[in-house]
């Protein structure tokens, strides 16, 4: 198997933070890989180091050990290789909706004209073209997250990181957003690593789920999600769906050593 087959490869990634009374180990050797066009979710207890892991993949903080590879190249400590959708929409309040999308594309190296055309085209496709020239404060939380996702989807970086993208939304909006994202992603497959707290969300969206333990985080289990695509919301009533949900729930609630 050639290395470039993996969109992302983490090789024994470790991270400790210096603190009074010694080092605090947060990531205790994480190895995982994501295939091209694969949707992988990470699920783990709060404080297990998921956001920290994303900071390492994004090249924002030094690793205490291990390597990050993307598309067959060692990108450890390098920035600019990922498209990112954070928990808060993180839209620049002084830029219009279209302007925000353009900004992300321009920073990734796309020229202004092309970025503009792409943004305009896609805003129409997700039926938000009426808001293209509005400022973010005029949008609901759910709409802002759609823009935030679109911005990441259109960015040319080879890999998408989504850090609890729907964590701040109410349950109903969240469910609608999951369905929406599922539809768009299935039509435009990109390599994705998603952090979530919701087992249902992970099961609905992912090809594979990686379960982390509490800090220092190690991989407890890796679950291949067997449901065929395109998936529907009716999945929620599938007995297999509920069995897997139960299994992951128990893994997350194992007593920590």
């Amino acid at each position: 198997m050639s290395k470039a087959q993996w969109a992302l490869e983490l090789k024994d990634v470790r991270k400790s933070f210096e603190s009074r009374g010694g080092a605090k180990e947060v990531l205790g050797g994480i190895s995982l890989s994501v295939r091209d066009g694969e949707f992988v979710s990470i699920i783990g207890p709060s404080g297990s180091g998921k956001t920290t892991l994303f900071q390492l993949i994004g090249g924002l903080a030094p690793l205490s050990g291990g390597e990050v590879w993307m598309d067959g190249r060692n990108t450890t400590g390098h920035r600019g290789h990922i498209a990112y959708m954070p928990q808060q929409a993180s839209l620049m309040p002084w830029r219009t909706v279209r302007g925000n999308i353009e900004l992300a594309l321009q920073i990734a190296g796309i020229d202004r004209k092309q970025a503009r055309a792409k943004a305009t085209d896609w805003l129409a496709r997700i039926e938000l073209d009426a808001y293209a020239d509005s400022y973010p404060h005029a949008l609901s939380g759910g709409m802002q997250q759609r823009i935030s996702f679109l911005r990441a989807l259109l960015s040319p970086q080879p890999f998408m990181l989504l850090d609890e993208p729907f964590g701040a939304l109410d349950a109903l909006t969240r469910q609608q957003m999951q369905q929406w994202l599922l539809t768009i992603w299935e039509a435009n497959r990109r390599s994705v690593l998603l952090v979530t707290h919701s087992i249902e969300e992970a099961l609905l969206l992912s090809d594979r789920i990686i379960v982390l333990s509490a800090a220092p985080a190690v991989i407890v289990d890796e679950i291949v999600v067997p449901f065929a695509r395109p998936r529907k919301e009716s999945l929620w009533t599938d007995p297999q769906f509920n069995a897997l949900k139960q299994q992951i729930y128990e893994q997350l609630h194992q007593p920590t050593v």
Partner: protein, 259 residues
Amino acid sequence: MDNSKSRWRSIFPPILVIAVLLAVWELAVVWGRVPEWKLPAPSVIVAEAIAIWPRLMLHAGATVQLALIGFTGGAAAGFALAALLHLIPGARRAFYPLLVLSQNVPVVAIGPILTIWLGYGILPKLILVWLVCFFPVSVAMLSGLNDTDPVLRNYMRMIGASRQQQFWRLELPNAVTHLFSGLKIAASYAVLSAVVAEWIGADKGLGHFMLISSKGYQAASVFASVFLIVALSLTLFGIVALAEKLVVRWRPAKEAKKV
């Protein structure tokens, strides 16, 4: 329709108060037989202003020129210094306390020293106005540049924005509202500091004109100058506020109203 009505409702009370005040002033002067060289009635001031209008305009022209050049230069320098201190690692931490302290120095007090050093030409006066406008802009700009939302900063870094891109695309636009609050402070002091500079030493300008008028006990002329100075100051402030409205269009409506 509704909007102009509510605007009228908010403008009307202060106008009424001012009108009443002027009327009381006028009547008090007339009935109390206050001598004109002490306190002229508003009607006398208006009459005097009309009589000396050409001369008043000549002096006002000099003052406006001084205030505008000083304001523009000071604001530009304040902006540039803030950007520089922000971009040079460590410089901000070293200079910021000094800048904040300098705000407590009554800059106009430096005026006489500037005259000793530089004589009576336009240069010491310009430097005075320039200094008065420089500090509020640099301090506001510097704190604005540092006031970037950490969530946005993290986002920009995650998607690979360079230091330069972070400055132009995030920190600078974020600082614009701060910049304008600094510019508004500078604008409201620019005309005043120009007048003070002209007191210290000048052969033209409203400050100079006030000085010779008061020496000649021409209170009406002094008052006419004061009203003109207030009007000029308000105009400059209004221009900056208008520019802010045109530039900062993205602010939510409810926040814009608070100012």
